[in-house]
C-alpha cells in the first residue's frame, strides 16, 4: 500500500507494504501479515550466522552514513562479560526526511521486531529506541507496540519462549536536531546535553553508558528483519548490476515543490529523473524544478539538470556531486528565492548547533547573519568569499561533521 498516495507500480514495496493499513499496527494484525516470524527464526539461530546473512545482503545504514550494517554488527564482541546495547536511532531530525516516522506510525511492530533481532545478533540484552519528542503519534504507536510485545511474551526475560532475554525500551527526545548524530543520541539517552562525542572511542568499544553499543537507523533495522526472513540473495535482487555496493530497497521522502510529496520505496539505483517525474509527478503546474537536495538538508544541493542524470544509490549520488544521505529529497522550483531558502536552512543549523565546537557554534551563526544580509540586498562580493571560507573551516573540524 502507499501513503499518503497509492503505491506506484515501479516502486519496490517491502518496508512500506503496510503503510496506510491501520490493522498492521496491532500485534494481531502484524502477526497476520507474517510478523515476528523473522524474530522467531533469529532466536533459533546462532547470532554470528545472523550477522553473516546481513553482511552478505549488502545492507547499508539508512540513516545517512551508509556504513555496511553486517560489518557494524560484527564489531561487537559478545561474551566479554559487559552489558551490550543496541540503540535505534529514531530521531529522524534531518530536514526533508520523514520515512522513519511512517514506519513507526504504520508498522510499529516491524521496528520492535527489527530491534529484537538486532539486539540478539549483537549480543545485547537491551535495545533503546530513541524517538524525537515531536513525534507524538509515532511515540504513541511504538509505546503501544512495545507493551503488546511484552504482554505477549515476545519481549522480556524469555523472549518468544525461546530462553533469550530481549528488552526494548522507548526513549522520548525533547527537541534537538543534533541528537540524530549517534554519539549525541547516546549522551542524550544517558540524560546529558546532546553533545556529540569525540571518536575514537567508537560506540562498539565504548558507547551507551560507556559499554559496547551498536546504533542503527529505524529503516536499517526493519530492513534487516526482511533480509533475515528472505535471505541475502533475495535482498540483492534490487540494485544496479554494475554496482554491487548498493543493494535492496530504499525509502525516499519527497517534499518541497513537488506534485505528489510523500514516501516512495524504490530499488537502489533507480533513475532519479523517473523518480521525480513519474513517481512524484514532477513540478507543480506551471513550474519548473530549479534545484534538488536529494539526501536531507546536510547534503550538497544540485541543479535540476544534475538531478536528472543521477542514479539513486550511494555511489550514484556521489557521482552526481552529492550524497544519498538519509533519503530526504527536497525539491525547489523556479518560484523560490534560493538565497532566502539557504539563509533559512542556515538559521536551522545555527538554532540547532550544540555549541560544543567553536567552528559550528560561531560559524553557523555567522553564515546565517551574512546570508540574511545578502537576502536583504546588503551583500558584497567579499561576503561570498567569506562564506566559502567559513564553510571550509567548519567542514571536518568539529565532532559531528
Amino acid at each position: 500500500m502507499g501513503y499518503p498516495h497509492q503505491s506506484h507500480p515501479r516502486e519496490a514495496v517491502v518496508l512500506s507494504k503496510h503503510f496506510g493499513d491501520a490493522e498492521a499496527r496491532t500485534l494481531a494484525g502484524w502477526k497476520a501479515r507474517g510478523g515476528y516470524q523473522a524474530l522467531e527464526m533469529a532466536l533459533g539461530m546462532a547470532a554470528a550466522d545472523i550477522v553473516t546473512i546481513v553482511k552478505d545482503s549488502g545492507l547499508r545504514g539508512r540513516g545517512g552514513a551508509g556504513f555496511p550494517t553486517g560489518v557494524k554488527w560484527s564489531f561487537m564482541k559478545p561474551g566479554d562479560g559487559k552489558p551490550h546495547y543496541l540503540c535505534c536511532n529514531a530521531d529522524e531530525s534531518e530536514p526533508g526526511t520523514f520515512k522513519d516516522r511512517e514506519i513507526m506510525r504504520w508498522t510499529p511492530h516491524a521496528l520492535v521486531e527489527g530491534c529484537a533481532i538486532g539486539a540478539y545478533a549483537i549480543g545485547a540484552e537491551t535495545a533503546y529506541i530513541y524517538i524525537r519528542g515531536e513525534f507524538t503519534e509515532p511515540l504513541e504507536w511504538m509505546n503501544k507496540a512495545v507493551k503488546e510485545a511484552y504482554d505477549a511474551g515476545i519481549l522480556g526475560a524469555n523472549a518468544m519462549g525461546m530462553g533469550k532475554r530481549v528488552d526494548v525500551h522507548v526513549h522520548k527526545g525533547a527537541g534537538a536536531y543534533i541528537c540524530g548524530e549517534e554519539t549525541a543520541l547516546m549522551n542524550s539517552l544517558e540524560g546529558r546535553r546532546g553533545n556529540p562525542r569525540i571518536k575514537p572511542p567508537f560506540p562498539a568499544v565504548a558507547g551507551l553508558f560507556g559499554k559496547p553499543t551498536t546504533i542503527n537507523n529505524v529503516e536499517t533495522l526493519v530492513a534487516a528483519a526482511h533480509v533475515l526472513k528472505n535471505g541475502a540473495a533475495w535482498y540483492k535482487q534490487w540494485g544496479r548490476p554494475d554496482n554491487p555496493k548498493s543493494t535492496g530497497t530504499k525509502l525516499f521522502s519527497v517534499c518541497g515543490n513537488i506534485a505528489r510529496p510523500g514516501n516512495y520505496e524504490v530499488p537502489m539505483g533507480f533513475p532519479f529523473k523517473d523518480f521525480l517525474w513519474d513517481l512524484c509527478g514532477g513540478p507543480l503546474p506551471g513550474r519548473k524544478i530549479k534545484a534538488v537536495i536529494p539526501g536531507g538538508s546536510s547534503v550538497p544541493i544540485i541543479t535540476a539538470e544534475e538531478a536528472e542524470g543521477a542514479l539513486m544509490d550511494y555511489e550514484g549520488f556521489v557521482a552526481a556531486g552529492t550524497m544519498l544521505g538519509s533519503g530526504g529529497v527536497i525539491v525547489f522550483d523556479d518560484a523560490q528565492n534560493m538565497v532566502k531558502q539557504i539563509a533559512r536552512l542556515a538559521r536551522f543549523y545555527a538554532h540547532e548547533s550544540c555549541a560544543q565546537c567553536s567552528q559550528c557554534r560561531e560559524g553557523t551563526a555567522w553564515t546565517t547573519k551574512i546570508l540574511e544580509r545578502i537576502r536583504d540586498g546588503q551583500g558584497t562580493m567579499e561576503d561570498l568569499d567569506t562564506l566559502l571560507s567559513i564553510g571550509d573551516s567548519m567542514t571536518g573540524n568539529s565532532s559531528a561533521s
Binding site: R101, G191, G328, F332, F348
Partner: protein, 181 residues
C-alpha cells in the same frame, strides 16, 4: 495533551518566571512518583531518567520551573545546575510558562518553500498573539516557529501541544482554532 496545563494555564502564563508566591508543590508524589520509579528500572543509571522525568514535570505543570529542576535533581541525585544545563539544551522543555495552547509551526526550508510563513502569520493573527513567543492576552495561545518537525511531505505540519496536524494552510487556521476547547 502533554504540554497543556488544564484550567490553570492562563494563570500560569501570567505568573512571573520562577517567582510564584504559592509554596512549591512537589511533582513526584503519588502516581507520578510510581511512574518515575518504573522509568528508573529501564536504565542502568539514574541520570538516564532525566529526560523522562522532565517530561513528567512538563506534563504536570505545563513548564519546567527552577524549583521543579531542583526537585528532579534531588530525585535523580544530580545538581540543579546540571539539570538546568540539560533543560536549556532541549527546545521542547519550556523554561517559562506558555499559553494553554502551545502552537509550533514548522518553517524550516522544506515547509518554508511550501508557504509555512503564511501559516505562521495566520496563527499570529487569529490567536492575537501579535509576535512569536508571546502569549495571547487571554492566556490561551503561544505561537512559535519550530525547526523541522519531521513531516516535510505534509507541509505545513503544526503541533498544538502534543497534537500533530498535517498539511495546514493559512485558510485552515481559523477552523483549527475554533475546534479547540
Amino acid at each position: 495533551m502533554s504540554h497543556g496545563p488544564s484550567a490553570s494555564g492562563g494563570a500560569l502564563a501570567r505568573a512571573p518566571h520562577g517567582h510564584d508566591d504559592t509554596p512549591y508543590q512537589p511533582v513526584f508524589v503519588g502516581d507520578r512518583r510510581k511512574d518515575l520509579d518504573a522509568i528508573l528500572l529501564k536504565y542502568p543509571t539514574k541520570m538516564a531518567a532525566l529526560l523522562p522525568a522532565l517530561w513528567i514535570v512538563q506534563e504536570a505543570r505545563g513548564w519546567v520551573s527552577e524549583p521543579a529542576m531542583a526537585e528532579v535533581a534531588k530525585a535523580l541525585e544530580l545538581t540543579p545546575a546540571y539539570v538546568k544545563g540539560v533543560v536549556s539544551f532541549y527546545t521542547m522543555y519550556h523554561q517559562h510558562p506558555v499559553g494553554k495552547y502551545f502552537v509550533q509551526v514548522c518553517t524550516t526550508t522544506p515547509c518554508n518553500v511550501c508557504g509555512a510563513e503564511d501559516v505562521v502569520n495566520a496563527f499570529l493573527q487569529h490567536t492575537r498573539c501579535g509576535e512569536l513567543g508571546a502569549t495571547s492576552p487571554d492566556g490561551r495561545f503561544t505561537v512559535i516557529e519550530v525547526e523541522c518537525l519531521g513531516a516535510c511531505g505534509f507541509a505545513t505540519p503544526v503541533m498544538i501541544n502534543s497534537d500533530f496536524l498535517e498539511s495546514v494552510t493559512p485558510d485552515s487556521v481559523p477552523d483549527i482554532l475554533a475546534e479547540l476547547p
